[in-house]
């Protein structure tokens, strides 16, 4: 760049240039308790409707008054710094937080007209409709076949072995794993590579025909190739399933989702079309996070 540097003296000088910083970034404490989410958190005719959701771990509040709708067959990414509440909120959607004694969930979470926290709702059945894939692949210490067959069997979805075989094959195909394991269905699920194990977990989730698949950092333990396969899979799955994904990888959020929700200190700051959020976010906190301006 020697050419350019010598030209600076002849052209516009630094003195002509306004400083790049006009004001300080908003302070974290400055978010109002009565904040409003910017963008488009609410939808017409959503599959999932959440209203005034507050979550507490004992006395500590982790989620503040979140209102967010999720549409059928959309992929929504939830992003935000560590501790912002995105995973906590995700886990509210299939009552995984029920397993934590100190956790209290307030507000309405409605799936196709049914309040999922209503006493009449069986959490086990709910989790078949709203499956979840975790950060670390967690196949059962059983065969590949049994990992996928387990769910349909305990939920009583099949009566005949041939029907179960069909579900296993179909689920593994949908998860993009069939070609790699079809000759080793009796091999151990834990013997697969990390990426294969994660796809096996996705196949296990698909096997019980969920409406929604929740993914909590599904690629954080995978290498770039395995990550690319999961992302490709998400693109295919969106045709038949609704997917909510929590990720720290913003490029991944940008690639796989159609809408993005930004959480900050337990508050849902902004929701919008992914393309808009990553090119011209409205809220300065969203802008600061996705451009790496604070940690």
């Amino acid at each position: 760049m020697a050419g350019i540097n010598t030209m600076i003296d002849e052209g516009r000088t630094q003195d002509d240039v306004a400083p790049l910083t006009a004001v300080e970034m908003p302070r974290q404490e400055s978010i109002d308790e009565n904040y409003e989410t910017v963008g488009s958190p609410l939808l017409h005719n959503p599959l999932v409707k959440t209203r005034n959701v507050n979550v507490f771990y004992a006395e500590k509040q982790a989620i503040f008054n979140v209102n967010l709708d999720i549409a059928k067959n959309e992929v929504i990414a939830m992003i935000g710094p560590s501790g912002c509440g995105k995973s906590t909120f995700l886990r509210c959607l299939n009552r995984m937080n029920d397993t934590i004694d100190t956790c209290r969930v307030q507000g309405d979470i409605v799936l196709e007209g049914q309040d999922i926290y209503d006493r009449s709702v069986d959490a086990v059945e709910l989790r078949a409709r709203v499956g979840i894939v975790f950060q670390k692949p967690n196949p059962f210490p059983k065969s590949v076949y049994e990992n996928v067959a387990y769910g349909p069997r305990i939920h009583g979805l099949v009566n005949r072995k041939s029907d179960l075989d069909d579900i296993v094959e179909d689920s593994l195909k949908r998860a993009g794993l069939w070609e790699e394991v079809k000759d080793e269905l009796e091999g151990s699920g834990t013997g697969l590579s990390g990426g294969q194990q994660q796809r096996l977990c996705i196949a296990r989730t698909i096997a019980v025909s969920p409406d929604i698949i929740l993914m909590d950092e599904p690629c954080s333990a995978l290498d770039p190739i395995a990550t690319a396969k999961i992302e490709e899979l998400i693109a295919e799955l969106r045709e038949n399933y609704t997917i909510a994904i929590v990720t720290h990888n913003m490029q991944q959020a940008a690639r796989v989702s159609s809408r993005t929700a930004y959480f900050h200190l337990g508050k849902l700051i902004e929701v919008g079309e992914t393309e808009i959020v990553f090119t011209r976010p409205v809220h300065p906190l969203t802008e600061a996070y996705i451009t790496g301006r604070f940690g």
């Binding site: 760049m1 050419g3 350019i4 030209m7 600076i8 002849e10 052209g11 516009r12 000088t13 630094q14 002509d16 240039v17 306004a18 790049l20 910083t21 006009a22 004001v23 970034m25 913003m250 490029q251 940008a254 990553f278 090119t279 011209r280 976010p281 409205v282 809220h283 300065p284 969203t286 802008e287 600061a288 996705i290 451009t291 790496g292 301006r293 604070f294 940690g295």
Partner: protein, 236 residues
């Protein structure tokens, strides 16, 4: 829309430096081209052959700066995967330098016409028109680069009106020169050279508009290009 771009607030100070460098280099290129435009206009009006030759000689340096800034932006895109205002800055920089380089070409063209007119050795008749339009284009160019330097959207929005004023004066000047050609056909070549010089000034104005639109996009995120076409599409 947040207008405070805070480009120096990244966790990575290296990223701050990279973006700062791109901005500085775009402005350096713009400053050089602004000087080239001023010199070419002066060379033509004052009949200054050495100044015209200087403009022609410097044009290569502008092309080289365009390549350097292209490479800088490509590196940042590959290594940093910028988003939001950082991404818009790089897009605005990449698109602006194409226009700035073409403004440099137009300045060189004006300098070449200045030399041709000097070779003809006769006083030329388009002086007043060229001087008037030249002054407006000088101001437009300065305002355009100031708007980029200061991320000044209000100033960028004035460029459209300034360009319309240049266009009006340009069309009037062309009509005047056409009637002169009709009255004195023996001065055809000379008048054609003046017309081409005026055309170069008018084109510089068009490039200023493009850069001003990139400034608005960079700061506000709004793509204001082809606004009339978009309005028509909406009506349909």
């Amino acid at each position: 829309m947040n207008k405070n771009l805070n480009l120096d607030k990244h966790i990575s100070s290296q990223f701050n430096d990279d973006l700062e460098r791109v901005k500085t280099h775009v402005l350096a290129m713009g400053g050089l081209v602004e000087a080239q435009i001023n010199d070419s206009i002066t060379a033509l009006i004052e009949g200054n052959a050495s100044l015209a030759q200087k403009v022609r000689d410097k044009e290569r340096a502008i092309n080289s700066m365009e390549l350097d800034i292209d490479a800088e932006c490509a590196t940042i895109l590959a290594l940093r995967q910028p988003a939001a205002s950082d991404l818009r800055l790089l897009i605005a920089a990449l698109k602006s330098i194409t226009d700035i380089e073409r403004m440099g070409d137009e300045a060189k063209r004006i300098a070449s016409f200045a030399l041709k007119l000097l070779e003809d050795g006769e006083a030329w008749t388009g002086y007043k028109e060229f001087n008037k339009i030249g002054e407006r284009v000088r101001k437009m160019t300065s305002d355009t680069f100031n708007s980029f330097a200061r991320f000044d959207v209000e100033l960028a929005r004035t460029i459209g009106d300034q360009d319309r004023s240049v266009d009006t004066a340009y069309h009037a000047a062309i009509q005047e020169l056409l009637s002169q050609i009709s009255d004195n056909p023996e001065n055809l070549i000379q008048n054609m050279n003046v017309m081409w010089s005026l055309r170069s000034l008018e084109r510089i104005g068009d490039h200023c508009i493009n850069i001003a639109e990139y400034v608005i996009y960079l700061v506000e995120g709004d793509d204001v290009r082809h606004a009339k076409d978009k309005a028509k599409e909406k009506k349909k």
